[in-house]
Structures are given as structure tokens and as C-alpha cells.
């Protein structure tokens, strides 16, 4: 999977006022990269991530995903891309409270038109791979923060996407569980997936193969001291 963003601008209209959040962003991410997007809050990190995740569209500029201009795709194609190729992980987990852990994971598979039987199989496998085999029937409010985030990660990987997008994935966790979650991301990256993490945490950024710094909507590559 190859991500290629050229001359991207994003602005929001708020009444009469137009605020430009991202100015002329150019970014390329290739297979196997682990990218950390850092920057102060309000700098446009999440906006950039949402555009990469095909949840949002650029105001100007183009975004090629695997050579395809996403600006030319309709709602259903974009939904299908989000479903198959992209896995989202959020700071606040965003699990549906009425569903069990297993059902939450299955949901992503079901939106991909897979047969319910097959979806159940892969969902179980994903949960087991994250050490949640005895938590499958639990509802989110019966799980700890770290468990919730692992369920969310299971949901993100159930369709074997090539890109994992995580918005402050450790932001709601204590440092020890945060560390564990980070290890999971590293493992997913080692399996060949692109992992893009938006974070405030320099500890996480240090683990990344690349750091992209956004300040006032301008993107700048930062050399990573570790690698």
C-alpha cells in the first residue's frame, strides 16, 4: 500500500469565516513504515489522519491511495476502502456499548459483506491474538481501559487492512498498559502494515520509523534520533 499526498489543503467554513487547517501538505508513506504524527493540539494532526483514513476529503490537492485518486471515489467506494484497507483506533476506544467485545469486532467484518460465519471465525482469531479469548462475551463497560483498546485494535485488524491509523491510542491509558498497546502496534508494523499514530507522547514518537511534525498546518519531517 502506498500513500501519496500532493499539495493538500484543508479548510473549514465556520459561518462566514474560513479557517485553513492544513496548508500545502506533501507526504508519502510506503509499505512497512511506522509514522508518528506529532504537534500541538489544534495543529491539524487529526484532520490529516482523517483524510488519510478516507473519512474526510481535502479541500484542494490530491490524495492517491495505491495510485488511485481518492477524490474521484464515491461514498460507497470510500466506505469499502475504510473497511478493507484501513483500521482505525481511537483514543476513547469507541466501542458500541450495546455489543459484546466479539460483536464489536464482528461489526467491521459484517460491513465488508462477509458471511456471518466467516466473520465470527476471524473476529475470534483477532481477539485471541490479542489475548482476549476469555473476554469475548463481555460488554465494553465490563472491560478495563487496556482491554477495551485491545478490542478496538482487534476490530481494526479483523479485515486484515494494510494501514492502521491510531489517534492518541494511549491517551486514555496508564503508562504500563499504554506501553503494551504500543508493543501491539509495533508487532502489527513488523507484519508489514503501515502504522500511522497521532500522538503527544514523545515516547511513542521515538519508537516510530519516521516522525512528521505539524505546526500551524505546515508539515515538516523530523529526523528520528533513535533510528
Amino acid at each position: 500500500m502506498r500513500i501519496e499526498i500532493q499539495g493538500l489543503h484543508k479548510s473549514y467554513q465556520n459561518g462566514d469565516q474560513i479557517t485553513e487547517v492544513l496548508h500545502n501538505v506533501n507526504l508519502r508513506v510506503g509499505d512497512g513504515e511506522f509514522v508518528a504524527i506529532i504537534g500541538p493540539s489544534g495543529s491539524g494532526k487529526s484532520t490529516l489522519m482523517n483524510i488519510i483514513g478516507c473519512l474526510d476529503r481535502p479541500t484542494r490537492g490530491v490524495y492517491y491511495l495505491e495510485g488511485q485518486d481518492t477524490g474521484k471515489l464515491g461514498d460507497r467506494r470510500l466506505a469499502s476502502i475504510r473497511n478493507r484497507h484501513i483500521g482505525f483506533v481511537f483514543q476513547s476506544f469507541n466501542l458500541l456499548p450495546q455489543y459484546t467485545a466479539l460483536e464489536n469486532v464482528e461489526l467491521a467484518g459484517l460491513y465488508g459483506n462477509e458471511s456471518p460465519k466467516r466473520v465470527r471465525e476471524v473476529a475470534k482469531k483477532a481477539l485471541i491474538s490479542l489475548g482476549l479469548e476469555d473476554r469475548m462475551k463481555y460488554r465494553p463497560n465490563q472491560l478495563s481501559g487496556g482491554q477495551k483498546q485491545r478490542v478496538a485494535i482487534a476490530r481494526a485488524i479483523v479485515n486484515s487492512p494494510s494501514i492502521i491509523l491510531a489517534d492518541e491510542p494511549t491517551g486514555s491509558l496508564d503508562s504500563r498498559t499504554g506501553r503494551k498497546v504500543l508493543d501491539i502496534f509495533k508487532k502489527l508494523n513488523k507484519e508489514g502494515r503501515i502504522v500511522i499514530v497521532v500522538t503527544h507522547d514523545p515516547g511513542i514518537a521515538r519508537e516510530a520509523s519516521r516522525i512528521v511534525d505539524i505546526k500551524d498546518g505546515i508539515v515538516r519531517e523530523v529526523p528520528n534520533e533513535v533510528s
Binding site: 473519512l55 466506505a79 469499502s80 478493507r84 469507541n94 450495546q98 460491513y111
Partner: protein, 410 residues
């Protein structure tokens, strides 16, 4: 997402908010319940009246004195008052008319009713007596418990005989077989020749009188001792239901020989039935319409709750979109939720309505109910339409939500 899964997903959400879903459905439940109940009552009344009228025979014709107009005023002026009304004033019908009609083409029997008041000495009261002839038993649905009806000979000989109803038999003779016993009318002895079966009083239809209190006497006997010589009603029985039309023509032509057109009115059973059915049909439709308004209110309730639900579940919608739901998936899900609520509500309302319609007669015995399949189908289709109609707007609102905004919402 596959349709079945969308369906399950919607079901889950509804079940997650059990109380709210039920309260939302309540509007539809009550709506369908009242539609079914009210139309059942309307249908019941209609059936009851129809069967009562039809039990008298569909091939019956009535001749009334005077001109009775059904429908709007005819003639040049719309202000005109009908000259002679539905009553005894100006009555020119005589027993000779009855005799003239007997034996005519297409007519199997003709009889009449002559009403009078006589003194029953045994009870020391005045009572209504009815003069008639031997053919009444053939044109009306009278059943004898004991004895026989008046004969042609008794009519021709002006004999003092009587056929009495159940209540009359109780009051005059303390019930039992009274054939052969006598009682006094205006000081003269009358012999009982027949006693009628007890019959439930019919509260509707043209023959609404209580037959149990009747005292039938030979018409000639009555006319001879009374000043008033006119019969109040002639009953004509056509040979068959198909012959009614031609019999009506024959009756009219025969009557015209001795009467002006405005001195009599010929009415078919079917005319009355149609008139009554028209009125009751309007009544049923009106009741159903009123009930349908509550269904509409129920639909607005669904829309209201669905809109609240969309706002409340904004974040869920955002998450669903992020993991791969298209606008269509979201639309379908919310639409199914609305439709499922209205259909389940509809079915519950239907069950309650049918149960209620079945139970009502045992609580209020005078009310008869009949559940019409048409009403059931219309009600369910209406419930479905209400669900779709009031579900589309909230569902499309949900589908159009910007996923970014949706995910950001708390």
C-alpha cells in the same frame, strides 16, 4: 452490510433501549388497536342489521301509504315539502288492495298489517292488536310454538280467534299451551288458536317491533268493528329473489288501478338494506378515520424518538462509518429500526384489537363485533407506511452526518 445483518443490528439497538422502544411503539399499538376495534364494531353493527333484514327474506316488498322519498327532492323546486308523509294521515290503502295483489304473476304471498287498539278485559288495559290474514305467516318469519295461524275461512267468517305472542301468553294465561282457551276483548270472548315462539327483540331494521306482545286477529273481524278501514302496511313476497324486480313492477301497476302515484310507496328489502348499509359504511369509515389519526400521532412519535436517537447516537454513527459503513448502510439501519418498531407495534396493536373485539361482546352484550380482513390488512399496511414515512427523515439525517463531526461529538 447484508440485509439480514442490518436487521439484526437494528433489532439489537431497539432491544438495548427496551423501555424507550416500547413507549415509542405504544403510539402505534394504540393507533392500530383503535382502528381494529372501531372498524370491528362498525362491521358488527352492519352484519347484525344485514342479517336481521335478510332473515326476513330478500324477496320481500313493502307497500306503505303515502309517498316516501329516499334521496333528494325531485321536481322543479327544491323547497317543496312532500305532500303526504310516512304515516296514517291520508292513508288510502285498503284490504281490497291486498286481495287484488294476491295471485298476481311472480308473487307468492301477500299479507298486511292493520293496527288497532282494543281493551283487554282480563288485564284491565288497552293494548295494541294487529289485524292480518292467513298469509302473514308466509311473508314474515313468525314461528308458532303451539296451535296454528289464522286460516282463510276464519278470515272470511270474521271469527273471533287470536294468535298471541309469548309475553301476551304469559300475562293472559301464565304461559303454557293456551290453545283453546279464551280471553275477553271489548267484552267479547276470543279463542286462542296459536301461540308464537319467544323471539329476541330486534332493535334494528324495519320490523323492529316486539313480536312477543302481539295479538293477531283476523283482519276482517277487526275492520268490521272499527271506523278506520285502512291497512298500515302491505307485505308482498316475490316468488324468488330474482323475481323481486318484476314483482315490484306488478305491485306498482296493480296499485295504480285504484290509487294515485303519491298514495303509496313500494319498497324493496334491498332498498332498505342499501340505505342502512350506506349509513353504516360511512359510520365505519368515520370511526376508522378517527382511529387513523391516532396512528398518525404514533408515527410522529416514532419520528420524534428516531430524531432523538440519531442525535444521541451520533458517535456510534461516526464509529460505524469509520469501520466501513456507507451512507446507505446507516440509512438502512435507522429505517429498519423505525419500520420494525411500527410493524411490531402494529402486530401488538392488532393482537390487542382482535382480542378486544372478541372480548367486547361478552362485556357489553348488546354490541356485536366483526373483524374484517380488509381492516386488518389496511391497518398493517398503514403501520408499515407510517414507519417508512416517519423513519426516512431521521434515517437520512443519520446517513448524512459528517463522520468527523460524529466522531468528535461526546
Amino acid at each position: 452490510m447484508r440485509f439480514r445483518e442490518s436487521f439484526r443490528s437494528s433489532f439489537k439497538s431497539l432491544f438495548h433501549n427496551k423501555l424507550r422502544s416500547f413507549l415509542t411503539m405504544l403510539g402505534i399499538i394504540i393507533g392500530i388497536f383503535s382502528v381494529i376495534m372501531l372498524t370491528s364494531i362498525g362491521e358488527g353493527i352492519k352484519n347484525q342489521v344485514t342479517s336481521q333484514v335478510e332473515s326476513l327474506g330478500a324477496n320481500l316488498l313493502y307497500v306503505f301509504p303515502g309517498k316516501i322519498q329516499m334521496g333528494p327532492q325531485k321536481g322543479k323546486s327544491r323547497l317543496g315539502v312532500q305532500e303526504s308523509g310516512f304515516g296514517q294521515a291520508g292513508n288510502t290503502l285498503t284490504y281490497d288492495d291486498v286481495l287484488n295483489l294476491k295471485g298476481q304473476e311472480g308473487i307468492s304471498a301477500v299479507s298486511c298489517i292493520y293496527s288497532g287498539v282494543d281493551r283487554l278485559d282480563d288485564l284491565d288495559i288497552f293494548a295494541t292488536t294487529t289485524g292480518t290474514d292467513e298469509d302473514l305467516i308466509r311473508v314474515s318469519g313468525l314461528d308458532l310454538r303451539f296451535g296454528r295461524f289464522i286460516t282463510r275461512e276464519e278470515r272470511l267468517d270474521n271469527e273471533r280467534v287470536a294468535v298471541i305472542g309469548d309475553q301476551a301468553n304469559k300475562e293472559l294465561f301464565n304461559n303454557g299451551n293456551s290453545v283453546g282457551k279464551t280471553f275477553k276483548i271489548n267484552g267479547e270472548d276470543y279463542k286462542v288458536i296459536g301461540v308464537l315462539e319467544y323471539k329476541e327483540t330486534e332493535n334494528m331494521g324495519p320490523q323492529s317491533e316486539d313480536v312477543n306482545v302481539k295479538i293477531y286477529l283476523p283482519i276482517t273481524e277487526m275492520i268490521n268493528r272499527k271506523e278506520q278501514k285502512n291497512v298500515s302496511q302491505i307485505l308482498v313476497k316475490a316468488k324468488s329473489a330474482e323475481a323481486v324486480e318484476s314483482a315490484e313492477k306488478t305491485v306498482r301497476e296493480t296499485m295504480r288501478k285504484n290509487h294515485r302515484d303519491d298514495e303509496f310507496t313500494v319498497m324493496k328489502q334491498q332498498d332498505m338494506l342499501n340505505a342502512i348499509n350506506n349509513i353504516l359504511g360511512i359510520l365505519t369509515a368515520g370511526l376508522g378515520g378517527i382511529a387513523a389519526i391516532s396512528l398518525l400521532v404514533g408515527g410522529i412519535g416514532i419520528m420524534n424518538i428516531m430524531l432523538v436517537s440519531v442525535t444521541e447516537r451520533t458517535r456510534e454513527i461516526g464509529v460505524r462509518k469509520a469501520i466501513g459503513a456507507s451512507r446507505r448502510d446507516i440509512l438502512v439501519q435507522f429505517l429498519i429500526e423505525a419500520v420494525v418498531m411500527s410493524i411490531i407495534g402494529g402486530l401488538l396493536g392488532l393482537a390487542a384489537g382482535i382480542g378486544g373485539a372478541r372480548l367486547l361482546p361478552s362485556v357489553l352484550p348488546s354490541i356485536h363485533t366483526a373483524i374484517s380482513l380488509a381492516a386488518v390488512i389496511v391497518a398493517l399496511v398503514f403501520a408499515l407506511l407510517v414507519g417508512v414515512f416517519f423513519g426516512v427523515y431521521p434515517a437520512s439525517k443519520a446517513a448524512k452526518l459528517d463522520p468527523i463531526e460524529a466522531l468528535r461529538s461526546e
